[in-house]
Each structure stands twice: as C-alpha cells, then as structure tokens.
C-alpha cells in the first residue's frame, strides 16, 4: 500500500499512531472482568469524595454498532473533573479533584453501568461527563460526552453542544430513568449515530 510520509521539523515530534485495543483488552485493562487471577491491582475508579454535597447518580447504557447489534467487547472510560473552589462548609479543600470510571460492556448484552456524582457546572459549560470508548474494530478511541436532560438552559449555552448541529444534539443528552438514574446509549454508526469529538 502507498503511504504518505510526514517529516517532523526539528524538536517537533508526532503523536504515536493509535491502534485498536482488540478483543482481548480485558486482560490488560479490566482483568477482574474475565476472572484473571489477581496478581496485580486494577486501577481503581476514582469516585465521589465522601462528603461531597451532590447527588449520587447511576448511569447505564448500551453500545450499538452499525448493524444495530450490541457491542459486547468495548471498554469505556468516563471523566469528570471538578475544578476550582468548593464552598468552605463542605469541608473539601479548594483545588482540583477528579472522578474517573472505567467499565467494560457486558459479554452477553453490551450493557454497562456505573455510579458517580452529579457533575458540576463550571464557567459556561453545562454539567457533562466525558466518555472515551475503545474496542475491537475501533482504530482510535472515540471521545463523546453526556449531558443531562433537565439542564435545558445550561445546555443551550454550552459551547460544546453549540458546536453540534441542532438535529444531532439529542444524541449527547441522556434519558432520565427514575429519580437518580440516566441512560446514555452510544451508537457507533448509522441512524442516530452518536456525535464523536476531535478533542
């Protein structure tokens, strides 16, 4: 196959090329999910500080491919930083803390779920959770993000949502399930394809 060649300028390197995580990603990224004897630690999900004054929520979803089949061998990471000041009476020091979750989709049905805190608003960014998805057949990880249906006003001002065509914004907005649950399905291809970002 013919290839282009890009020459880096002096002192300028290029990002290492991405490759698919393949079908066996669980070995390295989620060994407990396949019952690999625990010789090491899995990186822990970094979750709500105990005394954080926000609601704990559950997020569930399914990953779908272009044939409307569930994707049963994907890994998702969710990321929500909380930047800046926290009110003094919450007992949390100001600065930066973090919530990071890693889930693999269920081998039988492609479902995933995790619990987290309701994300905060900052600046003119509406509350959101960033997702990064890898799997067999995905050559470079896909970035997307989830917004909350009840934040109509904040969502309307959010610069990221505003960079998306109006008719596709609904793919980034979760559906409420019960009082503190949300469903966020990710469609890789075709009808109702989720918006993915070049971040």
């Amino acid at each position: 196959m013919e290839r282009d060649t890009l020459e880096p300028s002096e002192n300028q390197l290029f990002e290492t090329a991405s490759q698919t995580a393949g079908p066996y990603l669980h070995i390295g990224l989620a060994p407990n999910s396949i019952g690999l004897p625990s010789a090491g630690k899995e990186p822990r999900n970094k979750s709500c500080p105990q005394n954080q004054k926000t609601d704990s929520i559950q997020i569930v979803g399914t990953v779908w491919d272009g044939r409307k089949e569930p994707v049963k061998d994907a890994m998702l990471e969710a990321w929500q930083p909380d930047l800046g000041e926290i009110s003094a009476d919450s007992g949390i020091i100001d600065g930066e803390f973090e919530r990071w979750h890693r889930v693999v989709t269920d081998f039988r049905n492609g479902n995933w779920s995790f619990n987290t805190c309701y994300p905060r608003t900052f600046g003119n960014f509406a509350p959101s959770i960033s997702f990064w998805l890898v799997a067999r057949g995905i050559n470079i990880g896909l970035h997307t993000r989830m917004y909350f249906p009840e934040n109509t006003k904040a969502n309307a001002l959010d610069p990221v949502l505003n960079s998306v065509a109006v008719e596709r914004r609904n793919t980034l907005i979760a559906h409420q399930v019960g009082r503190l649950g949300y469903r966020f399905d990710i469609v890789l291809q075709g009808d109702n394809e989720t918006v993915f970002f070049d971040v």
Partner: protein, 247 residues
C-alpha cells in the same frame, strides 16, 4: 482561591489525523460496522478534557511491571524469549511525560491470550498472565520485563496472522492525550501482511510502532532489550506550565 472561570487550561495541538489509521478500514473487517459515518466535531479549549485522572504508586503493585513473574508461581517464570521492553514517554514538544500510567497486555510466547474468547490451539502458560502496569519515572521512562509474544491467527480472513505485538494503554496528563496502541518488533515478516498495522497511512508513523533491538540495555546471558518510545500530543507552545493564565 481558584475559581473555575480562571482555570484556563492549556489546549493541545490539533491531532494530526494523517498519523492514525482511519476509522473505516475495510481490510480490517471489524471496523466496517464500528466506524462512525459522520465526521468528528472539533472541540476547542475544552476545559474538561484538558485535565485527566492521576495515578500514583499506591495504585499499582511493585512487581506489576514484571510479566515474567507477576502471575507466576513462586520461583517460576513465564516460558519464552525473555525481553526487557523499555522506552520513554514524551510529548510532541519533546518533553518527558513523568508519572503517567502505562498498562500493557499481550499473548504468551506461543501466541495465546489468557482470555475466554481466545480459542487458538497454542497452549496457555500457567505462569503467564499477560498483564502489566507501570508508572513512568520523572524522566518519562518505563520498563517492562516479559516474554516476546508469538504471532497468532485471527478470524479477519481465511489465513490472517497478527505480527508479534504488545498492546499499550497510556494516560498522559489530560484526557485528550489518552492513547491505546500496539508495539511491534523489528524484522517481523508479518508486518507487511497485517491489515491493522497497514491501516496506518503514514510510513514514519507506522515505523514508530516498531520496537528496535537495543543491545546496550541487553543483560548478557539473561534478557534481550527492545526500545519502544511513545509520543503523546503536545500542548500549544504558548502555554507555560504553572502559569494558569498563559502569560
């Protein structure tokens, strides 16, 4: 006290998409139904993705880096050619990326993964798990001790084999630097035949995934060394660390 609107995160250089395999590469069949049809939407100065999870020494075990022994019975080691795979993680501005988590996974020396989905008839090695983790040091350096994996067949076509490779996952310091790739080995005759490797459109980018024999780090009568350096996206050079307003 820092307030949110003043946290002006440094934005990353735009991703150079010519260096990466396109999402839709039909010669790699699994991409056909898993590649988005719509173009990606560019996000600029995204404060969320300009930060990322941080890991520290307590998040891993001290021997997670040593795949020769980390799943082995006491006193045993994994079977196969003993290698030391090492390198440096840097960003596009040639600055080391310290204290970042690297995870790796691989087939054993016979080309078999310890995974319920892998049914290749090559044997499992009871002393090999195929899973490793490490944090880069203050110079961005890392090392894994392991066995050189074998090539293995996969169901992409009637007779397709993966070159020997080790999967790498790297966090970097912000979520937008997140990267998963594969490390190949110098001289592997399967490389020109592999649809996953060949999907990389740029020659230099493809060659960058090939670990080179590093005789200087080889341990005589013990372990062959290979070097595999990793570059993550860089920040705009106008940003200076520790100076959040970018001046």
């Amino acid at each position: 006290m820092t307030v949110c609107s003043e946290v002006r995160a440094p934005s990353l250089n735009c991703r150079n998409w010519k260096r990466h395999p396109p999402a839709f590469t039909p010669q790699y069949k699994s991409t056909v139904a898993r590649s988005p049809n719509q173009p990606l939407i560019r996000v600029r100065d995204d404060q969320v993705q300009s930060h990322g999870p941080k890991f520290n020494r307590e998040d891993i075990f001290p021997n997670d880096w040593d795949l020769l022994t980390n799943f082995a019975a006491q006193g045993a080691t994994a079977l196969g050619p003993r290698i030391l795979l090492h390198g440096q993680v840097q960003d596009e501005n040639n600055r080391p990326v310290p204290n970042t988590l690297i995870e790796c996974w691989q087939a054993n020396a016979a080309g078999r993964y310890r995974h319920p989905v892998d049914t290749y008839l090559a044997p499992l090695d009871p002393n090999f798990g195929g899973c490793g983790r490490t944090l880069t040091d203050h110079d961005g350096r890392y090392r894994f001790r392991t066995v050189q994996p074998g090539p293995y067949p996969w169901p992409n076509g009637p007779n397709t084999w993966r070159p020997a490779h080790i999967h790498f996952s790297i966090f970097g310091h912000c979520f937008a630097q997140r990267l998963i790739t594969q490390c190949y080995f110098e001289g592997d005759p399967f490389l020109p035949l592999c649809p996953i490797f060949q999907a990389i459109p740029d020659t230099n980018a493809a060659n960058g995934l090939i670990a080179k024999l590093d005789i200087s780090e080889t341990m005589p009568h013990d372990t062959v060394a290979y070097r595999f350096d990793i570059t993550l996206r860089g920040r705009n050079t106008t940003y200076f660390e520790g100076n959040s307003d970018g001046t």
